[in-house]
Amino acid sequence: MTPDTGIPAGARDEQGSERDLVSRLRRGDEDAFEHLVREHGGRLLVVARRFLREEEEARDAVQECFLSAFRAMDRFDQASRLSTWLHRIVVNACLMRLRTRRRKPEEPIDEFLPQFQANGHQVRHPTPEWEGSAETLLARRETRSIVREAIDRLPDSYRAVLLLRDIEELSTEEAAQSLGVTANAVKIRLHRARQALRTLLEPRFRRTASC
């Protein structure tokens, strides 16, 4: 920690090197741009895959992201982090692609939602307990990939809302603005997406009766 700034020395070095990088990028330095791509491209690709599921489209979104960033570099606010800025750009690139996709019919989500009897009980009654809390389940090596595969199975518009609200932690209003829908539509879709994800995870995590 330095007495003059109150910022830890490591973070200060990082800020300084990021400032240098931004200056080089603004001068159109190709090596600096390649450094930016190598430094952040992998992580951005992971984010794009999460939204788009298709590898080729995810790579195209990352490419668009870097080209947009390059064009907008003069407007980059140095008070922000490059990683945060690029993250926002790639998410927007993915949402634009999902909007284009939405013109095509989407797979229904109903089969993953709870079904009810006339008396208001679930058809599959009672709901089973799971083997443990999220924390306990996450101690298993395979849990994260099981959950990611289940998220990938959600229809596009539901997956996008779940990612924006629960993972990217946007507010309802921010998510609504990003998706071009009403706040109420975000609430409804998020609830359905969480319910569907719960249904998809249940067979993997439900407590089975012991002998």
């Binding site: 992998g42 790579r59 990352v62 080209l67 389940l137």
Partner: protein
Amino acid sequence: MADLPYITCRELIEFLYLYLEGELPPDRVVEFERHLSVCDSCVHYLATYKETIALGKAACAELDSPVGDEVPEGLVLAIRSSLRSQI
């Protein structure tokens, strides 16, 4: 109060989102919690709904770690080439 009918599991599950977001009116919260006090099935549904949110966050947060997130060489080349065409 004791003579009032309970809300159904269907109503509880439909209003779960609003309950967790704190957007349910106070009188509905009372009905909601009254149902939970007698329905283990809905207690389990609520618990597993919350675990689902936590699992989703954790599974995707790990993806954001820098470890193993290398950018494919082909993508670097493609970006470099598009960039050159823009300069």
